[in-house]
Amino acid sequence: MIDILVDAAAALLLPWLMLGAIAKVKAKWAGRKGAPVLQPLYDALKELRKSQVMGRTATMLFALAPVVSLVAVVFAALLVPGPTGRAIVSFPGDFVLFAYLLALARFLSVVAALDTGSSFEGMGASREAFFSALVEPGLFLVLASTLLASGTTTLSRIALGIHSGTAVADVMLLLAALGLFLMVLVEGHRLPVDDPATHLELTMVHEVMVLDNSGPDLAMIGYASALRIYLFSSIAAALAVPPDVPPLVHAGGVVLVLFVFSIAVGLLESWSARIRLTHVPQLLFVVNICGMLLFFLALLGGGQG
């Protein structure tokens, strides 16, 4: 019971802290003081109180899509191991449900973007669908390879393979971390895949899809986006932290990994601009390569597979 509460509290608070940490890192690198770390949360709470404007072409789908997307991402969070090391819900094959719930959220947000009848949102929707199609096989291969290496079938026990002490375990951890970090960039819509700070259509994928959302919808979309960053970092943390340490140490390790990921995203955003749109697929293909390499390492003797 305590575990569930801890995991739930972490999922409610840590995503905002990660967003805030990323913004703080960017500010510090630029020589500024930066907004408070919880500023994204304050913004979301403010938006919940604001009024809403909907386009004239929009149907009820536009109103419902952010809600159902958010609920889908929240339920996907139930399947991911949190700071306690175990997920709230786990069963054989849960990584499939996890990925497909995120896909449901993406489907609805893309369709809602097309509902506005604007070419900006259409552009963002097209790019979003395209980029996710490129990384989906890689994500599945990364997750399936960790399952193969651990000889298990659920996400809650994926760390067993990486920490079994074999020679290739460190390389596997590195590859999985790289793949999951790129997933954070794609799904969390950060540079160099997508620019969260501008509103120019040349650089936008996610921001342009939500151009017409306002009020409570925008708060829900913001939380869903933060939650996606948190989820993929959590999976990486579950892989990185050894499974047989005391609970407090485990939770501390997970928070440390999340912190490291936030700093890494922040630094990457400070150093790079959005790469050319035609080069983004090449970057995203690295996820597929990580997946394939990880699979072969898992097959050839990493872990207990």
Binding site: G93, Y100, V111, S118, F120
Partner: protein, 676 residues
Amino acid sequence: MTHYLYALVLYVFVGIASFAARRDAKGYLIGGAGILAAILVGTDSIPVLLSGVAQTYTLRLPPPIGTAVLVLDPLSAFFGMVVAVLALPAAFYGAGYLAGRRGDDSAHAVAGATGFHWFFYVLLVVSMLAVPLGQSVLPFLFVWELMTISSFFLVIFDAEEPATRSAGVHYLITMHIGMLFLVAGFLTLWNGSGSPNFAAYPAYLRNHETVTPVVLLLLFVGFALKAGFIPLHTWLPKAHPVAPSHVSGLMSGVMIKLGVYGILRLVFLFGPFSKGVAFLVLAISIVTAVLGVLFAIGQHDLKRLLAYHSVENIGIIGCGIGVGMIGESAGMPLVALLGFSGALLHVLNHSIFKSLLFFGAGSILRATGERLVDRLGGLARRMPLTAIMFLIGSIAITGLPPFNGFVSEFLIYLGVIHGFGAAATTSVVALAFVVASLALVGALALLCFTKVFGIVFLGSARGDATSHAGESNPAMFVSMGVLALLCAGIGILPEPLVVLIGGAVTQLLKAQVGSGLATLPGSLELNAMVAPLATVSRFLLFFVAAALVTAGARAFLVRRGGARRAETWGCGYAKPTSRMQYTGDSFARPLLSLVNPRAARGDEQAAATGLFPTTRTVSTHAEDPFEAHLIRPAVGSLVGFFRRFSWIQNGNLQLYILYGLLFLIGILVWTMGSGR
């Protein structure tokens, strides 16, 4: 098994009686009879699925057919149920779709006449119900051919269009090429073993190892042509768009599954097969699934797009069959159970949501007269119920929870994960290919269906076609509604159905002669299949409840904060028009240019030139590369070769009489010569 046969007789009787009914009432009559027939089929099939005991019936027919052995085993029962149940919405939808259609006085009166149309519809359903029963060569081939002929007449219903006629003839010829392969395979078996009954063939093939690959390949090609595996799929995107929508739904949903039935019958009759055969099946299925969805993304015609998605889903079913075969060859009963169960469940699921999508496309076609996606838009405000049901179908076909597409794909993924424990490295690598391909196919299907749904139903109208659109008539949207409810029902509460299918697969694996499985799937494996689904089901029920609660909370917040409507943000453009919206082509362009860089170069010709550019016209068409580079050159050279002999047919009656005379003289000489 008598109830099943009574159902067939009932259908035939009603089919003939429908000639007497009023034109608009024929469909309802057949639908009503279909409900009774489905119940009859169910009373025979469900016990067989539950118990696994096959029922046999011997029919004495006049020569040359002789005795026909009809067997209702779990596989036949499952496919019989699928046909019987899916024929119902198609009949009622067809009644609504054809309502108000004026009589046909054209030269194509037989094909275009509603009476004959419904008669051939009944004939198609009867032949599809009879195919799973046949276990001897001649009755099976007879019913298979009946299926082809009746569907041909259904496809050319709009025969006044030349495109329909040519697509129909193409379809007929392709089906007969498949028939050729089936006849070759079956006749080899019959001739070699001396018996026309399928039951004798496994033993015969075991004694004649050299013939086995050839015969199996012939039969596989024949069935794969019907199912629509690549590269034998070219007839699908031609025939399904031109047929009326209830026929498209029936053909795409049910008829191509009978090709899958044939392949499954081969697997369970002659199996278990080695790893290599399983890899071959997987390779073909993966290629089919990936290429099917890639071709679909490039299409602008709504029904052609849906036809390519049928090809993709046949690939997914094939992946399930391949995973099951790997499970058999690796001696892992759980993997075999999961693979085959996932394939069978996907057969049912695809029938449901593909019919739903085709019916939606038919409603759109009937309301707007337009099939091209880029000429539509904003239909959700004019046809809200159709939009909701099309959305449900789109989410289901993408395989997303909480609808039924997710459940069957989940079973296949689960089979793959359990299969990772296999001893053979090659099997594990093949399974990894399955995972990556299914993930890719799912993501591409998401791209395609967000495009279709978004461009057709959302935004604002891109032309005038939608200005007179209205909601579909009750028969149409009730049939769609029933299918949508089935999608949701199977998605959220799949356990009873999965238990039924799991039991059937276990019985089929047990009945395989010389099973390669050391242990058959037992209650432990069945539980390992159903328990995760139970968790998923509870999870999704909570998900739906949470979504409703959160929607209520959002509505409360919006009412408190205030809401108003305004113009969509256009970044300050002075005169935005609906033609500035994204089109289907633009939505798919990033992916298509990655996959086929040559296609992107066509845009240069469309670019505006000069200081004061005038109107330019651009046309894009997506051609099937297999048809353009494989079929058409082959057919072309064949026709060219035969054209050299065209001088024989010169239309001169006197010359034809001379041919006849020469033939008679030749026969007389030969008979007298051999008589001596």
